[in-house]
């Protein structure tokens, strides 16, 4: 929550402070959206909610931080993303692939176990300390002026990279053969198999893809939000909240819901202590689960139809 710390309890709200809130909210919001899309990709191809989704984000950040002293930053990030993708694929191959029609409860517990193992491994490799990547441009005090308020250029990096990721993903699913295969697999697995698509490989691919986007998000956000071994759980809950808000499986819904949750959180700081910020988003999750489990934007009857 580092980016929010400079937002103090200044009232009445000036227009500059208002913009600061907006930018903080959008930054976190787009990160939540990326985590939510990670959930969606795996959910769409497998029907699994991967409770280890947040750990991919942490892992991406941590690996990039470790590689950074050895090589230029862009290369470190690319390698970190690739390694995390391998981890994602490995998890699917070792733990998921060979199970024969596992029950939902079993899968929930397995992915929870995986998230614990990744977290504990990170604790033993990197320790409890808080780490971060350097700022991509400038340092923590440099800022750019936008609409009369000053923000860190890293905020623009986060928003830019995440937006590009969302666009590329939707292009990938719409226009590439691989993306269409994955969509076919999501729509009807049996039919996809009959068309000669290797659905098992598509599932592995979906784990790689969602690990990759999580890791990239983890890298770009690291300079402002920092990376810690147990940072994944909180992100996973927020990401899941967003995925549910947007309608599970609906990635455009996730973007809208992510930005909404980010803004809500940012503005909640002005009325509630920071410590309760997590409680707010979880309360939102509970209320939505109780009232509109098909999401804010979906309709009940269309919730069954999966859409990337």
């Amino acid at each position: 929550m580092a980016a929010l710390q400079y937002v103090t309890w200044q009232l009445p709200m000036t227009s500059e402070l208002f913009l600061q809130y907006i930018f903080a909210g959008l930054t976190y919001g787009i990160i939540y959206a990326i985590v939510a899309i990670g959930f969606n990709i795996i959910y769409n191809t497998t029907g699994i909610i991967n409770f280890a989704q947040g750990e991919f984000v942490m892992l991406g950040g941590m690996i990039a931080i470790s590689l950074n002293p050895l090589m230029p930053l862009p290369l470190a990030i690319v390698l970190a993303v690739l390694i995390t993708m391998m981890v994602g694929a490995l998890i699917e191959i070792v733990f998921i692939r060979w199970l024969d029609k596992p029950s939902v409860l079993r899968l929930i517990i397995i992915t929870i176990g995986i998230s614990i193992l990744i977290r504990e491994a990170a604790l033993h490799i990197w320790g409890e300390g808080i780490r971060s990547l350097p700022y991509f441009i400038g340092n923590e005090v440099s800022s750019v002026s936008i609409l009369g308020t000053r923000i860190s250029p890293q905020v623009l990096w986060v928003m830019g990279v995440c937006t590009v990721m969302v666009i590329l993903l939707s292009l990938f699913f719409r226009y590439t053969l691989m993306g269409q295969k994955m969509q076919a697999c999501a729509a009807n697995r049996t039919a996809a198999t009959l068309c000669g698509i290797n659905t098992r490989n598509m599932v592995t691919l979906s784990f790689m893809l969602s690990a990759g986007i999580g890791a990239l998000a983890g890298c770009v956000m690291s300079p402002i939000t920092y990376t810690q071994y147990d940072g994944g759980t909180g992100l996973a809950i927020k990401g899941f909240t967003v995925a549910i808000m947007g309608g599970l499986g609906n990635s455009m819904g996730a973007v809208a819901a992510g930005l909404l949750l980010g803004l809500l959180e940012a503005f909640s700081v002005s009325v509630l202590p920071l410590a309760f910020q997590d409680a707010i988003s979880i309360s939102i999750l509970l209320v939505i689960l109780f009232v509109r489990p098909h999401g804010l934007f979906g309709r009940r009857d269309t919730a069954a139809l999966k859409e990337f």
Partner: protein, 353 residues
């Protein structure tokens, strides 16, 4: 009566372990056995909910913590500065407050442990009831996430509230005099007595749950687990049964929380943490989901090893690994992996499939 024979065996085991530690001079093991006993109460309660009613809860540490924290707060909050106010005088008149001195000889006026425990347990039950009505309508991932979310909110609230000691938790919780001379406390001299208090509670809970699962309610729960729609069609009020089970298991967790907090003399926010909830789920899973005895045996064994520091800094990792391995290779639990069933299958020949 056949189903109560194992309970007699358990009682005999409890007594013989105590005598054995006495004889070998290793009574220090009793401390961890007492704590494992209290955790076992949470685990068998969760076993009823997960194994028999088929509803996962990733928020049971929350109920444990509500019991423990409320009880700790009410018995340590010093009301001495309010002693002239009407409500304090009134409470005192009815004998609901207890005066004592703390370590430094300062006078403390706080709630009677009995009243505090009652309030704590009723509160946990009420919260379970209120939360349970909407939560138990959910299924699968949604149910898991909703209960996980509930657990995190409870954790955050305890961690952020000044009245609950924030990150330090609450310490200096007095003993809990259950009966004259029977006090739940961690003091050195009361170790053996407290071991028996804890295991009496375990046995009482077991008797209650065994009776429950062998009754009409138990059959209804199993029907719900098997196929909820079918159970509904058979005229079982599934929502009501699920809710009752949820509240019962939450109350058991809260009772364990109250006792263990008095035994430890305090409670910290880690007791409400997500990892604790996951650990309870892991232990139920290892025990074999719908298997009270399995949950009890595995729960006590693994908690005892964990509390003795057997797993070192890999404590959480061990429970994570247990979860995965059990769910991958033996989703029916470790004790159900037994060869008896497979042998029976083998001997019955190919005639029955």
């Amino acid at each position: 009566m056949k189903r109560f024979l194992p309970l007699l065996a358990l009682l005999a085991l409890v007594i013989s372990i105590q005598l054995l530690t006495q004889w070998t001079g290793t009574t220090y093991y009793l401390t961890q056995l007492t704590m494992s006993g209290y955790y076992a109460v949470v685990i068998i309660g969760l076993c009823l909910l997960m194994g028999y009613a088929g509803q996962i809860s990733l928020g049971h540490a929350g109920f444990f913590a509500i019991g423990g924290y409320m009880s700790a707060m009410l018995t340590t909050r010093n009301l001495i500065s309010f002693q002239n106010q009407d409500w304090v005088v009134l409470l005192d008149k009815f004998g609901l407050l207890a005066a004592r001195q703390d370590l430094y000889g300062e006078a403390i006026l706080a709630f009677q442990p009995w009243l505090a425990a009652l309030i704590a347990i009723v509160l946990a039950g009420t919260i379970a009831l209120i939360i349970g009505i909407p939560v138990l309508k959910l299924k699968g991932h949604y149910l898991a996430m909703a209960t996980l979310g509930f657990g995190i909110i409870v954790y955050r609230v305890f961690l952020a509230s000044e009245i609950f000691g924030e990150a330090d938790g609450i310490s200096g919780v007095p003993g809990f005099p259950l009966l004259p001379g029977v006090i739940v406390t961690g003091s050195f001299g009361a170790r053996v007595g407290n071991y028996y208090i804890a295991w009496t509670l375990v046995i009482v809970a077991m008797v209650m749950l065994i009776n429950l699962i062998n009754s009409r309610v138990g059959r209804a729960l199993r029907a719900i687990h098997g196929a909820e729609e079918a159970a509904n069609a058979m005229g079982i009020d599934t929502a009501r049964y699920k809710l009752k089970t949820f509240v019962l298991s939450a109350v058991l967790a809260a009772v364990a929380g109250v006792f263990l907090t008095h035994y430890n003399g305090g409670i910290g926010p880690s007791e409400a943490g997500v990892m604790k909830s996951v650990r309870y789920v892991a232990l139920v899973a290892v025990g074999g989901m719908a298997n009270l005895w399995g949950a009890l045996i595995m729960g006590v064994t693994l908690n005892f090893l964990s509390l003795r520091g057997f797993f070192g800094s890999y404590d959480d990792a061990v429970f994570g690994a247990i979860l995965i391995v059990i769910m991958l290779f033996a989703p029916e639990g470790l004790l159900r992996l037994n060869l008896a069933a497979k042998l029976k299958k083998l001997f019955s020949g190919g005639s029955r499939k």
